[in-house]
Symmetry: C2
């Protein structure tokens, strides 16, 4: 008997294959310019709105820096924000295991409340199920994001430099010669979750980077020139760099030493044999920006508090892969990760 | 340590209390005329759209008459339809247990596909997680429904008879002297799920009534005069009759012998000590209709194939409860169920 494998839902190459084989061929509807098969972070339901969904199953439900509640708001809001949409409305669907501690549940609700207030996203519909199965807690949030002046400004400025045939910020939006920017330190969410489960007592003082990126994305949209954006959750930056490069049919040259990462986080990954490029993040964005505006975008990011924002490379038509110049001076291809190294990371 | 109880998510009075204590006070946003605290089937995000969400956890995932896939489409489409909205767009978020049989998964997907085609609801965004916890499969679908000529016609006709201050069909829409209609046999979904788990071999040939009610709701909206609608899932018709009566501040007199139910389904419930009025349904609607149009609505329902559609009673200001005249000639109050008798029924 064939069975579902953990890799089929782990955000990497295997999940892509699984979805393309079983799910996507059945649901090829298209309302606006984006269909399910485009596998973007959201799809448009009109020229004014995009729609997204995510079920969070992170284990443990509470971790340094946040909880499944923080993820359920920020993660869904981020999937809207990277389209250039302002997060506006949200559903909240809870599946809770019988016997789940009420005080943990209340902590999760407090985080949900806190972040919906910060993002100003309105929870207007919900559902609650209690089950006698070992899920702990799973939270689905579906979100609706709306067209806004920041997105319009970005498209206007961008079109002074090049053609851009899309109405939203698209994965396939990159062209040759653009700068690749990352807005903050990588791997901190993934390492936090791994550390939270570690019973070996490996010492590292790290917390999840979970954060609603719209709070700074809106300001860089005002600078303009952003051609593609993604939040590198499951599969990390290795995943999203490959995804936007492949969809845009460009190559990329990335410089390892430019990738912002804390030394101790890097060390933690090295010891455990993990590649930090494949580790999940929940509060940063990877983006393409027209070269002429890249420094302005960096300045705007630093002004909003993203002090580790950096240009990590650029797009090229010289090759088709994501290639990294390593700190050791060699170059290597970064393949799309087959799956996230950590199950239930978000 | 206080813990989450199965009743906290079982669709009855206890769930209502749980949500009012812990969840709803945190999320009191209102975009249009409906807020989370109204606990309607959907909430409006504009004068043109309503939004709803549901996570399905039914166990077993495949049962006579359908599967969790059928429920995930019909259930969410029905929550839109009872507002008078045409089901239009849907998200699809899968949480699957590692080791789940692939052929069962494909069967579920086939049902998802089949019903989205019938309803003409477009799946445009999704998410997939595989977990190593005993959930089997859980599916969240969030749906967006749109204003349509059928709803407009209903509101127009209705307002020739009485004031109706709402833009959508609302739970609180009932007035005194209206007919209560039920569109088909009750308790068949709940009995099917219970039977699917029964290892005692109780013989009954029954299948779930899972069905997208928009297919007939649109025709009765054209007749007009519908003041409130609900699909009686968890908690059954006892739940929804109490809910619309309480929200509308009217009483109700119901006639037991008018309630459509198969004899063998009734017998099955009797033997197991279950109240069929509290058993879940997935393809029928309970509604209030202005008395003058009730017979026209019944005729329209029968024409669309709802051959057991019946007027089961009417609203009254003589008392505040839902009162049933029993087949034995006595009367009794039908209280709101404390919870659904069957866990993981939808």
């Amino acid at each position: 008997m064939k069975m579902i494998r953990i890799e089929d839902g782990a955000g990497g190459k295997y999940m892509g294959e699984f979805l393309k084989k079983y799910v996507i061929p059945k649901f090829n509807a298209k309302v606006g310019e984006i269909s399910l098969s485009d596998m973007e972070d959201s799809s448009d339901i009109s020229s004014e709105m995009v729609f997204t969904t995510d079920t969070y199953v992170v284990d443990p439900p509470v971790f340094p820096g946040g909880s499944i509640g923080s993820l359920a708001v920020c993660g869904t809001a981020n999937d809207l924000a990277v389209m250039g949409a302002k997060p506006a409305y949200m559903s909240l669907s809870l599946v809770i295991q019988e016997g789940f501690p009420l005080d943990t549940f209340e902590q999760v609700l407090d985080h949900l409340k806190q972040w919906t207030d910060v993002v100003d996203i309105k929870v207007i519909t919900g559902d609650t199920k209690v089950v006698n199965s070992g899920i702990g807690i799973a939270i689905n949030t579906s979100g609706i994001g709306v067209r806004n002046p920041h997105l319009e400004e970005n498209l206007k400025v961008l079109r002074e430099f090049r053609e851009y045939p899309f109405q939203w910020i698209r994965d396939r939006g990159l062209s040759e010669g653009e700068s690749i920017i990352i807005t903050g330190n990588i791997a901190e969410h993934g390492v936090t979750i791994m550390k939270s489960r570690d019973e070996l007592g490996f010492e590292i003082d790290v917390k999840s980077d979970v954060f609603p990126v719209w709070l700074f994305v809106k300001d860089i949209l005002d600078v303009g020139g952003i051609t593609a954006m993604k939040d590198p959750t499951r599969g990390g930056i290795a995943g999203v760099l490959n995804e936007i490069a492949e969809k845009s049919r460009v190559g990329m040259l990335i410089h390892e030493e430019m990738i912002p990462i804390r030394e101790d986080v890097k060390g933690f990954c090295e010891v455990l044999g993990l590649d930090p490029l494949t580790m999940a993040n929940e509060g940063i964005v990877v983006m393409g920006v027209v070269e002429e505006l890249a420094e302005d975008v960096i300045r705007a990011l630093k002004k909003t508090g993203q002090k580790n924002a950096t240009i990590i490379g650029k797009t090229t038509s010289d090759f088709e892969e994501v290639v990294m110049e390593t700190s050791a001076g060699t170059t290597r291809v970064i393949p799309p990760p087959t799956s996230d190294p950590i199950p239930r990371v978000c």
